[in-house]
Amino acid sequence: MTSTGTHHERPVLGEKPDTGGPNRRPLARRARDWLTAFTFTVPALALFGLLVFAPILYALYVSFFNWGGFGAPSDFAGADNYIRLLDDPVFLGDLWRGLLLILLSVGIQLPFALAMAVLLNQKLRGRAFYRMLFFAPYVLSEVITGVLFSMIFAPDEGLADRTLGTIGLDGLGGLWFADQDNVLATVFLVMMWKYFGFHMTLYLAGLQGVPAELHEAARIDGAGPWQRFRHITLPLLGPTIRISVFLSVIGAIQLFDLVWVMTQGGPDHHSETMAVTLFQFGFKRYQIGYASAISIAMFLISLVFALAYQRFVLRRDTEGALTSMRGNR
């Protein structure tokens, strides 16, 4: 709302002028406000409850049973499934590998995407082509990407080893996916190839909001390229970066398709993620109770991260964007 007049033109909602103190409107009126808000949100709430909340609650319920998927769950197991989680080397390994993937994504993939975005924001011949080229992998389906890289990193005939061979390097001798120590790094390489273009595009969009005047002014003041990047671009790109970190972390926590197609979590679980373990127990072993416990753990990890991130990191970005009833005062 723009206020160009000299007088205070803001419409007054109550009978009395707004004193800025605590809400003084009559109770009946407040109740009516709530009722209106409630009526309008019922359809959305019902859908959300049915499609999102109910399945989560059901998974929570099932996670307290030993259940193979036949009939209704009846073999109550208490917290057994959760105790078993904490003792399961595969699940604990999943947590560790998940953390590694998050660190690699945030520490390598995002800075790389940012560098590419800044580069492709310059006046450069064919930059539209490059932008499209780097974004293309993101459009490709995960399964196709997985199959593609299974071939690229295959032993002997794989493109990766052959290419490295022609420039005189030995490559990994086909052990990209087939070695316990290499497999996670290889999976990350593919992740990076697939997703950096998406983050690059986010940053590019963010860069369009950085006013050129600021750069001009800074240049006149004698600031070098690095100083301008560090003190103008980076701070103004803050909200975009914070969102991109958020998406990247949640994506790493839920990683499934790529891993399933390329390695099925192997060799010997060294590239397994939580979602892969969940799938193994749910749809291969039919231990649906335990699989539900994994899904609840995964949900809680995502939820805690999301809430904490909202509360501590995203708050200043979303402030004002989110409206609340109190904001109407």
Partner: protein
């Protein structure tokens, strides 16, 4: 637990098979579930037959024949039956393997299965039987029993009762490249494990990759452990371990040790831990392109080799898994599995009639010659043309014992643990004792 019946002895011996704990617990669970969900499952009332607009009885036939040649033979079989039975209509529902499995998981928990559905027998079928979802067809198919290859029915028999009709049966064994064997100066395939290891060493010395393996997919590696266990413990020993849910016995640890001996020779192709089975560069492609001398695989191996690779034609041969010195198992005991059709409880009678029609000698000959199935009817064996498949069929015909693949014989969680822990052993991450222990642990928890 599945009935491991000696093929030579009729199914009557299986009276000894005890009802396992899990089974009783499961029945209890199932009945309690029945009470709890009485309201929900009221619609799953069985015994209902659907009729179409022309008043014909409709029989739903769920199958997984999504690829040729069987894809077009299946509807043709349905038509042939309908021509003889004008008051019945067979409705085919064809689903892809994995889609079928997940759909069936949902259906079994709702308690409503299709009239006729594909089954691999073993643990999953047994769970469905225990939940009261499968029709006991013992008496209806008793006339068939004498005409079928005995081992073909075994995956579907529990406590002397038959729950499905087979349409395919196969065996796992070594497929080898005769030309590469000759290059290494080996004239006859090995018959003992010691000889086998020697063959592997000689192939390596000749610069040939001895064995192709799909390490990524786990189940091909499991065959080695399962066959070694079968050769050492024998069919009865396997049965006892399954009944007692205890695989920590010496025999099973020894199976792991022998597999370790093989792994220590580094016999597998480069990058085998990341290799798939039927993918480009996978196990079948390596064999099919003549880049490895052997693979341990089921009767489908030649087709997949030719599909994923070029195929090695007449160079391909088959020999049974070698015996282990001091073991109770015979060279003629077979690890294998097949496909069959079970009938839901309360399905129309026409469903069983159709299955009986499907495995008449005349019809099975069509399945063998046109749909590339292995014969389940003795009289249809002559319809086999491929010399390698004839070998497999002969192996099955003279089988002295039969063991269903562990990942199908046991409940899914146990089967997957066998696959997973044996994969760990092949990757060098698990000891034979750990493999035996972790399988036992999962089995006991079932």
């Amino acid at each position: 637990m599945p009935a491991f019946v000696r093929a030579a002895v009729p199914a009557s011996v299986t009276g000894a098979v005890s009802t396992s704990l899990s089974r009783r617990r499961f029945l209890g669970a199932a009945s309690a579930a029945g009470l709890a969900t009485a309201g929900l499952s009221a619609c799953s009332d069985s015994g209902s037959a659907t009729t179409d607009s022309e008043g014909r009885t409709v029989v739903e036939w769920w199958n997984i024949q999504t690829t040729e040649p069987s894809r077009s033979v299946w509807p043709e079989r349905a038509k042939a039956f309908e021509a003889k039975n004008p008051d019945v209509r067979i409705k085919l529902v064809t689903l892809e393997n994995d889609a079928y499995k997940s759909k069936m998981t949902a259906l079994t928990s709702s308690g409503k299965l299709p009239d006729i559905y594909h089954t691999w027998g073993g643990g999953v079928l047994e769970q469905q039987i225990d939940a009261g979802l499968v029709e006991d067809i013992t008496s209806s198919v008793s006339t068939l029993t004498g005409t079928l290859v005995p081992v073909s029915v075994e995956p579907y028999q529990f406590d002397d009762k038959t729950y499905a009709v087979p349409f395919d049966i196969g065996a796992v064994g070594f497929w080898y490249n005769k030309a590469l064997f000759a290059d290494a100066g080996i004239d006859t395939p090995p018959t003992t494990w010691a000889d086998y290891l020697d063959v592997v060493r000689r192939l390596k010395r000749a610069g040939i990759t001895p064995v192709a393996l799909a390490g990524k997919e786990k189940w091909p590696g499991m065959y080695y452990w399962a066959y070694l266990a079968l050769r050492i413990a024998g069919v009865d020993g396997m049965q006892k371990a399954a009944d007692a849910k205890d695989f920590t016995g010496d025999d099973f640890v020894k199976a792991g040790r022998h597999l370790e001996e093989l792994v220590e020779l580094e016999p597998f192709q480069k990058g085998y831990l990341g290799a798939g089975y039927s993918t480009p560069n996978g196990e079948a492609a390596v064999m099919g392109n003549g880049k490895a001398a052997m693979e341990l695989m089921g009767q489908w191996a030649p087709v997949v080799q030719a599909d994923a690779g070029k195929g090695i034609g007449d160079d391909l041969g088959f020999f049974p898994f070698p015996t282990v010195a001091g073991g109770d198992g015979a060279l003629t005991d077979v690890l294998g599995g097949g496909g069959g059709y079970a009938v839901r409880k309360g399905a129309p009678l026409a469903a069983v009639d159709f299955l009986k029609f499907l495995v008449t000698a005349e019809s099975d000959r069509v399945l063998v010659s046109k749909a590339a199935m292995m014969p389940v009817v003795k009289d249809a064996t002559s319809a086999l043309a491929d010399p390698n498949l004839k070998d497999v069929s002969a192996t099955l015909g003279k089988a002295t014992g039969f063991q269903l693949y562990p990942d199908q014989a046991y409940p899914p969680a146990v089967g997957q643990e066998v696959n997973d822990s044996v994969a760990g052993l092949i990757a060098g991450a698990k000891s034979p004792e750990q493999v035996a222990r972790s399988i036992t642990q999962v089995a006991k928890s079932q």
